[in-house]
């Protein structure tokens, strides 16, 4: 079982926005985020998936072993939230993945990976 716990902050969101090129203001501008009905800025789903991929890579024996990764973005994650990303073997070459916030809610569901052994 590989696991990683991350408490998100605005600096990490801004760094991901810059590196990924996803500068959607819902991730960076609280006033804008609230104007479209969000509680405030939210963490990129792809940043969460990126963190999950690091845990899956560790369980698979290296990032180059990953062959497939899929997730459903099921819940909003805000700065200050702590998410635990975990990977555990499901069957040969397959991993079962999870991402759970500090309230025990799954923020990523239907999460799985396949890798070459």
């Amino acid at each position: 079982m590989s696991e990683r716990k991350v408490t998100f902050n605005r600096e990490q969101i801004a760094a991901y926005a810059e590196a990924s090129g996803d500068q959607n203001p819902i991730h960076l501008d609280g006033d804008f985020a609230r104007s479209v009905g969000l509680p405030g800025v939210i963490v990129h789903g792809m940043l969460q998936m990126g963190l999950l991929a690091t845990v899956a890579s560790e369980a698979a024996g290296g990032p180059d072993k990953l062959r497939r990764l899929s997730v459903r973005f099921a819940g909003m994650v805000e700065p200050g939230d702590t998410v635990t990303f975990a990977a555990k073997p499901a069957s040969p070459g397959k991993l079962e993945l999870s991402a759970t916030n500090q309230r025990g809610e799954a923020v990523l569901t239907k999460a799985s990976a396949e890798y070459v052994e």
Binding site: R4, V6, Q12, A15, Y16, E18, A19, S20, G21, D22, N24, V36, G45, M46, L47, M49, G50, L51, A53, T54, S57, G62, P63, D64, L66, R67, R68, L69, S70, V71, R72, F73, K110
Partner: protein, 139 residues
């Protein structure tokens, strides 16, 4: 808005720059020494083709009402920093029901020799404008 299932977009080339890869790795807490992080496909595959969909007036994707609902990447191999890859975007399906539009978008990435690198499959959900219900016809 018209349903745009089956629509394809022109191929886009992208150079995987080492500095950008390193910044991306640091942002997700990965070791830059481990090479191109798998989900850098969000940049070299989905990231170069999705803007074509969003900029397509006929597809009329309302960006402010767009949710990235599901994402899958399938890698044939992981690219190396310094490579130039080519991605082609395609709308796999486009259906609206109960005030929601479900748009499946795929991006196929190949290397300089045309060999497959990555397939990205995305489900976008767009909340449609709610139209006021029609007044019942008078009898």
């Amino acid at each position: 808005m018209v349903a745009v299932a089956g629509r394809t977009y022109p191929a886009v080339q992208f150079e995987i720059e080492p500095d950008r890869v390193a910044a991306f790795a640091r942002a997700i807490g990965a070791d830059p020494a481990d090479g191109v992080p798998p989900t850098f496909a969000a940049v070299y595959s989905l990231g170069v083709t999705a803007p074509q969909l969003f900029g397509d007036d006929e597809a009329a994707v309302d960006f402010a009402r767009l949710l990235h609902a599901e994402q899958e990447f399938e890698w044939h191999r992981h690219p190396r920093a310094g490579e130039t890859v080519t991605s082609r975007g395609r709308v796999a399906s486009d259906m609206s029901r109960r005030g929601m539009r479900f748009l499946s978008f795929e991006s196929e990435t190949t290397d300089a020799k045309g060999a497959p690198v990555c397939t990205s499959r995305t489900l976008f959900v767009i909340r449609l404008e709610v139209r006021p219900a029609r007044a019942p016809a008078r009898s």
